[in-house]
Amino acid sequence: MLKLKKIYKSFGDLQVLNGVNLEVKQGEVKAIIGPSGTGKSTLLRCINYLEKPDEGEIILDQLQLNAKTITKKEIYELRKSTAMVFQSFNLFKNKTVLENIIESLVLIKKVEKNKAIEVGMDILKKVGLEEKKNVYPAKLSGGQQQRVAIGRALAINPKVILFDEPTSSLDPELVGEVLELIKKLAKENMTMVIVTHEMSFAKEVADKVAFMDDGKVIQEGTSEELFSSVTNPRISKFISRLSR
């Protein structure tokens, strides 16, 4: 369903992505792990075109986007069917919880306001924050903000949700509620790509885990395959350092 072909990206002299290939199937949850600075987040941002790849192809169902020839219209098309959840939530500070969620419906999808509110309330129910609908993001805990951000992503009705370290800026006691919500979405067969440092979570939720190093996916498999029978010394070093 989602296919990345030979994605290259550099910032100045720094080559961040070195020809990444990745495939995500319908309903699959794919975790991307690896040491810091290996381009995991950049890859995710390329899928949403927040970063423009230098080269490579992104295929999402019938959308075929080549970095060399992509048009503005195609970028908007891509963004209409992919959603991003950020490490630092990035909720719209001047909008209430409900407004954050329905913004894309009203503005981009041109859904009628009443209908949008209906959809928005359903989503709020799902993320468990109905009673916070008229509250501004600044008044919420980090965990609640991230749940709203996931709700905002759901409102796009995306083919795939991209999570960029969704729990990294949360207090430890707030991580659980966000992971629970992601698990719930996994059960509903939402297609997701998750960049994470939570190894136990990756093991538990991800159908496939991709290990990235030096701007490339160097190994991929189910979590058992990747964690138990590690053949690559770089991966075993990374995993042993984490479990210490």
């Binding site: 927040l50 963004r79 950020f86 630092s88 990035n90």
Partner: protein, 221 residues
Amino acid sequence: MVNFDIQFAIRLVPLMMQYLRVTLMLSIFTMIIGLMIAFIISLIIDAKITFLSPLMRVYVSFFRGTPLLAQLFLLYFGLAQVIPVFLKLSAFNAALIVLSLNSAAFMSEAIRGAVISIDKGQMEACMSIGMTYWQAMRRIILPQAIRTAIPALSNSFINIVKSSSLAYTIGVTEMMAMAQLEAASSYRYLEAFVVIILVYWLIISVLTYLQNKLELRLNQY
């Protein structure tokens, strides 16, 4: 104490108030027009539009880098000699144009600074849900930036009110012109200028009070 004719001073107050209308009209129109131009300039510079963006930077540099009085004289006396349209311009309108253009240069920098100060994540979130740059600006970035810009914009408005007194030099009969006229005809310069300074101070105090009210209202999120 030198003799300060209190009664003369008090008699001046209602006279000033008649011309307060002109001062306020000039100031408020300037603020409205100036603010609109300022938004356009700051967005053009922020969006880095080719050709227009450097042009706007020159505009800002010119109006911030030359005296307001010189700009006023250049338009009303100078350009009127070569461009016939400016000959037909009333002094009030000439002052309005120059004050608007001038204040826009200052206010555009206040707005641009506030836009820059907004967390980059806000724009990224807008982009990620499929907004265009202009949609993001209108719905998310500017509403937040305006809150940050209010103190600086209030400062600009205060400056506009005071700068409007320069209009008297090209013959607009506003408060300052009135004070000058009364002072000259009665030789009571002290009284006339004490009164006008107090009136200006009062207006600005009211504006500052309104600014605080506005900031409180915008602090809801």
